[in-house]
């Protein structure tokens, strides 16, 4: 059964959750990415493994953590270690290839490169953001990354002010030439649409637009254009998905608002 009464935040969370496959190791950051990882675990990927850069692996998450160092990530984990172990798990191909990461950014370009550092001149920025954290590491190491973005022209840019986390760099083949493994952003989830990275071109394309959103509206809110030839309408949340998200994942509405 399809629901009609849902928020865009709920839609975004569930679009991300659907990307996670059972058995995936899910690297989650703060906020909505944490919620999406939790939703996947409760809805479609019960054997996925929640994993945090602070070093907690397979946390139980009885309550939604509000930061990756929230003590709620430590409860009933398989192991509580530290940053070195967490990033080594992703740099290590044996485990790293099973990781799907969920990230956010201030800017993204057509190649899936992310800026979480600064807008304007790096040395005297107009707006300074938090910086890489583990974002650059994750985008360097793991084959699949979901980027959460607000669908705004100032965020989908022709040229990043600062390239914090590598996607396809300057396009097809550039990642390998720089010495990076295959990986980086593979999916972009916004409040209007879901885009994917086409390995053949090294660029994003429109895969799904949300019910009620037009393709023109999507393109109008980006500085660059993307291929829309294969785009289809996204399935709205089901009542079952929404029920679990609201009642089990974020009953206090800490992230859903």
């Amino acid at each position: 059964m399809t629901a009609t009464d849902y928020s865009l935040r709920e839609m975004m969370t569930l679009m991300a959750a659907r990307e996670i496959q059972d058995g995936d190791i899910v690297f989650a950051g703060t906020g909505i990415s944490m919620l999406a990882a939790t939703a996947a675990k409760h809805i479609n990927a019960p054997n996925s493994v929640l994993f945090f850069e602070t070093g907690a692996i397979d946390s139980l998450v009885e309550e939604l953590p509000l930061a990756v160092a929230d003590p709620r990530v430590m409860y009933a984990a398989a192991s509580n270690a530290g940053l070195l172990e967490a990033f080594a798990t992703m740099q290590n191909r044996i485990t790293g290839d099973r990781v799907i990461a969920i990230l956010g950014a201030a800017q993204i370009d057509r190649y899936g490169n992310l800026n979480t550092t600064a807008i304007g001149d790096y040395h005297r920025p107009r707006i300074r953001f938090s910086g890489s954290g583990g974002g650059c590491d994750v985008a360097s190491f793991v084959p699949r990354c979901i980027a959460f973005m607000q669908h705004e022209k100032r965020k989908f840019v022709q040229r990043l002010d600062y390239l914090t986390s590598p996607g396809q760099l300057t396009g097809r083949g550039a990642r390998a030439a720089a010495g990076l493994r295959p990986g980086g952003v593979s999916v972009v989830i916004t409040d209007k649409a879901l885009m994917r990275l086409d390995p053949a071109t090294g660029e994003l394309y429109l895969d799904r637009y949300y019910p009620g959103v037009t393709i023109a509206e999507i393109l109008d809110n980006m500085q660059f254009t993307v291929d829309t030839g294969t785009a289809r309408e996204a399935d709205p949340p089901t009542a079952a998905e929404l029920g679990i998200l609201r009642e089990r994942c974020d009953p206090q509405r800490l992230i859903l608002g």
Binding site: A69, M74, C136
Partner: protein, 324 residues
Amino acid sequence: MVETDKVMRLETAVSRFMEDGAHMSIGGFTVNRNPMAAIYEIVRKGYRDLHLYAHSNGTGVDELIGAGCVGKLEIAYAGNGKTAPTCIRFRKAVQDGMLLVEDYSNFMMSLRFLAGAMGIPFMPTLSGLGSDITTTWGFSKAMRQADPKIVDQKLVIAENPFGRWGAAEKVVLVPAINPDVTFIHVQTADTMGTCRIDGLTFADVEQAKASRRVVVTCERLVDPGELRDHPEYNQIPFLHVSAVCHVPYGGYPTAVYRHYDYDADYLRAYAAAAKEEAAYRVFQKRHVYGVADHQALLDLVGAARLAAIQADPRTGYAVNMKRG
């Protein structure tokens, strides 16, 4: 309290091991196990031009920057959970040109502390190739060369000297860090300085072992015999530690696993005040400069707030605490 060679009051340890211009690091991660009592004491004593090495230390980093203590910062992430996705005083200081920043990633900063702990000049990683982290320098070459305490190059990209062994053509070499002093807060320390951290260690162990001096604050100060019942649970042997200070709630307002949660009200009030100059001065005066020591801050906060953040013995955090 009787002070010994190692066991001393926090005020004594800060005076003894801190100075203007010191290269320092602090333990913890965003809202967790920051050595807050030590940080507030550093702020009260008014040290200036500090060179701070951080991965994602959050609360403590922003307090030190907000108080004007930090001149140079090498960091991976300045955010603090839900209340401040970008640390507010950090953002303001950078935008106003008051703080010189060099950006790395979390793994790079952790590896840099590890290299320092291991006594080697650098560590390699596959992180950051093609990124502006590798090409854009916050500290200029001239500045680096003029200061013997700062390495000449931010990092180096090198060909893999082992050919394609390890399936890598290139590696990023990140330089070691050996701070003058590191402050960490742990659940349990003994009077010789050995530490036992419950839960995530973040990069505390590497930071401590890389540092020339280490000041430990602890929730519980015990006799060495207690920690030697299970030495395998201890992460930092006393060899690395210069001072041990018994400071219950020394991590407050950040969380200390199995002891207390973060104080969401305090962090929210801090974030609200930090956005506005006058309000921030009032907040600092009330919570830092206006109190004699950490116990006085706890008295100001009051028993009811501390009771509300008490960790539940099953989960290690305050179950159903109001956080929204």
